[in-house]
Symmetry: D2
Subunit: 303 residues, 4 copies
């Protein structure tokens, strides 16, 4: 089995086709990918100061991984077979001017910031435990997953129409993620493993951990999608990332309407159907763009 | 048991303390309230034209109902014991310039509108059935529930900090809704029964139906809340309504942080907790303000 | 000449047709209207504490004034002939949780607030002077002007499609304001005189002063407009109020396109024209809704 | 004098430090830079179809230009001495799914699009003339100007904190533009010359023209700014680019507060000052981010 680790010092902080691939992978084979945490593994105790330790490069990605046969206009399907932790603790932090309930450089005010604070959670069996009050089950997923854009190099902190830092809890074992392919080899990236996260990633951090993902890639040749899609036995889902948040919601639901049309629905009827059986949750409300997930049960679509 | 029906022609299209109460109710007693549908029961077949039939007064409310003992600064708790349909069909419609995926008078563009279209769903046992593709289980709730504001009279189409047209599916049997009391008697309103709705109420309409609600009121004297809350055995939830949508998300989660503080949490720790175990879904993305629901399992709060 | 003063204790804090008119006025006659400042004249020195002094009722309006002959569907034209100060000082204040660069109850975060602070400006001839650095020319206008809505009673702090608390500096002498009439007599309100204001009303307060307005009303019978318009010799202007701010911009420019169509322009051509010669500034970025002004020179329209 | 033309086929569609400089320039010398129009000069008559002619690469930039001595953390000052047209006509177009009053891929709805249409304006002396109604004075400026970011490569269609596609009419002769320097040599880009534009660039296009700019560069060594600034004899100005639009407004005014603090103002007092004498207009309401300009007269600052 192919096992991919980035060489220290070569992690990528942007999704870019201009970076040399670190591995070439065939569709159909199982691949194991190791990732650093979003803080570059540099925070490990509650006395660490994120503002002093962290620089401007964050959220290191493992990649790009060249997928043999992938060409612009295809769809890359990433099956997430398994996620394991690559260490025994997870990190979360309150970082000044970052988060969903604080002022930021983008939503900018004159108010003073909140204090910074680090929380360390030990992984104990299937639980992540910081203290008696902060203690939750292991529900791992990847915060960041993308193919490289055609022209731009996009910060690994940004979610966009080819994936990126969506922080959507459905990028998890058992699910398949569909991503647009914009350049030869797709140039796939993954990182930002989360032991767990609430909807919205409220203070800007999940339970950040090193991850070991078991993945399998396949291609839908000649099929072009506009935004990421997720699928499992029960649901089809779409992710929209934008600001203001309603634009993310509109993108996600429009994409879901169009996906239903691929199953034979008329646009107006799909719009009506989702009005009665669509579901929508907030992936992140903290990143460069907000990510919302629209979903519908397959039993309501395949009729 | 008290049974409340509005006299024809006296339905309220605004939440206002200036309207004479239609009934006075004691806390603790079971009350049955009948409501018209959001279209004033004026649309009943697929050939009806909403733009020709509907006027500017929409979403008729049953109320105000005076709750004995309620005073400004109290919290009114509305236990939703049961919801039954008061007729055997529900109505949904695509209405030009109204909905989440079309241009509206507020998010206004020069594009031409979509066509209008009415869907009629027959209630057949526990299912609502329009045709083979549009057919869903009965999951009733009230789209609109409010106490009257102190000074303003607010359109029954608007969600606000005392409730209103939130279109949140958790206003359902088994749940208790907490509303701020701003004037004597609380002046309670309810309407807009939905046989079912998807998250976001995407095209602006749910499965609109006449409702028969069994309710029980209680008061938390001297307790002032800022926004609606919902509670059941498993969850505590808060609703924020605003535009842009991120403002609704911020309100809902801030209120949930503050609610957790009432259970002994420190603010920063509650913020961290919700980052890992909070949930957030979209109630509506079509009304005057968008409504988002933040929720957290009681098992994660009461520790 | 008719001179209108509100009787103490009867100022209105909402635009509402349900309030008894304080005066009846004929079109064509000159009317003098006196107004209190937005703080109800309760702040007069720098040691005053707004949070302790001010209650929840703010921005008192003089009105409603019944305009003889006004009927729903008409347009009320308000000619602002003159504005004088009714006292020799103006007040501005930094109020916690209110303003364009601070967190508010609507755009809500956990950050601590800024301190409160009052600034008093003496009117010295044509200058308003707080100190050597804060000293500006007299450029008076009314922050708030409205007709009453048909059904709702809207807080005097809110701008809306019939005017309200727009805080737009072009509601000034020399200009005519067009407002939709929604009920008999139009039920006109005015208040919130500003000795001067920057674009956006950045900290939420202008140079707040008592005003004495000389007005003349006229009616355009049977002409229905959707949002406020302003006109002078050089410009036609439209005001849109909404959140997010881009919705206000879209409303204002769409209304201006439609106004140009009344002068014989084709919609697509008016859209092109405004792309090259439209102007747009921010009225307020602090109120319940943001108000933006779109304007175009008459010489570019009347061709 | 240095005269810079890009070699055909080498125009840049992104701001990126990874592209080889096309010229190296010393501070203090006058430089002439030639630019293509935003449509790559490919549209020249009213029968041209933008959707058929234009590809995905748009808004070609001349650059990168290496400024000798520029280092990360400096501020690059670009003096715009003169702008001349490099041809005798300008082009504007209504392009489906692009513009401020139509649905777009980001603010996405199901409504049908508007038709496309091209307008050609002849330059006749100091006027741009399409027909008798569409005819305006020459008021040239550059829509796009930027230094390269440190890590990302950003599409030339995007405005950001180092400039980019701001479409702000004050990037014009007589004004100096201050840009942050993020990498060695600053890696300066310019393009998107506009013969004229209304506030907001309403339909997404100005009077697009080939430009010939006379520029002079200087450096403020060791001075780090966060967002673009503009200065002339009368005003200091800041540009914020973000979505929703209020975030752009908040950035611009916060930056202006901070700029005033460099002149000795206290933050709270600068906030008060701008509340009374700040000005704010909309640069663009059509690009990836909206750009707003905050400005204040120097006479109100330098006291």
């Amino acid at each position: 089995m192919v096992e991919i680790r980035q060489k220290p010092g070569t992690y990528s902080y942007a999704f870019s086709r201009y970076i040399e691939p670190i591995a070439r992978v065939n569709t159909g084979e199982e691949v194991i990918v190791h990732t650093l945490d979003a803080f570059e593994d540099r925070i490990s105790k509650e006395t660490d100061s994120p503002t002093q330790i962290l620089g401007k490069y964050l959220n290191p990605q493992t990649g790009p991984i060249y997928i043999e046969g992938a060409e612009p206009g295809d769809t890359l399907v990433v099956e997430i077979i398994n996620i394991e932790a690559d260490r025994d603790y997870a990190v979360s932090a309150n970082i000044p001017e970052f988060g969903g309930l604080v002022t930021t450089p983008t939503t900018r005010f004159l108010n003073p910031p909140l204090p910074e604070k680090v929380w360390i959670y030990k992984k104990e069996g299937d639980m992540l435990r910081c203290n008696d009050k902060l203690c939750y089950p292991w529900r791992p997923f990847f915060g960041t997953i993308a193919t490289a854009p055609d022209m731009e190099s996009i910060s690994a902190l940004t979610p966009f129409d080819q994936g990126g830092n969506m922080d959507v809890r459905d990028i998890c074992p058992g699910n398949k993620v569909h991503l647009p392919v914009a350049c030869e080899g797709a140039m796939f990236y993954i990182g930002d493993c989360h032991a767990r996260q609430g909807d919205g990633e409220l203070n800007g951090t999940a339970l950040e951990i090193n991850g070991k993902a078991t993945l399998r890639f396949s291609l839908i040749k000649g099929k072009t999608i506009k935004w990421p899609r997720i699928e499992n036995d029960e649901y089809i889902m779409t992710v929209g990332s934008a600001k203001p948040m309603e634009d993310a919601a509109r993108i996600a639901y429009t994409e879901l309407v169009h996906w239903m049309c691929e199953y034979g629905w008329d646009e107006l009827e799909a719009y009506e159907a989702l009005s009665q059986c669509g579901e929508m949750y907030v992936g992140n409300m903290v990143d460069t763009f907000y990510s919302l997930v629209a979903k519908v049960k397959k039993e309501y679509v395949m009729r």
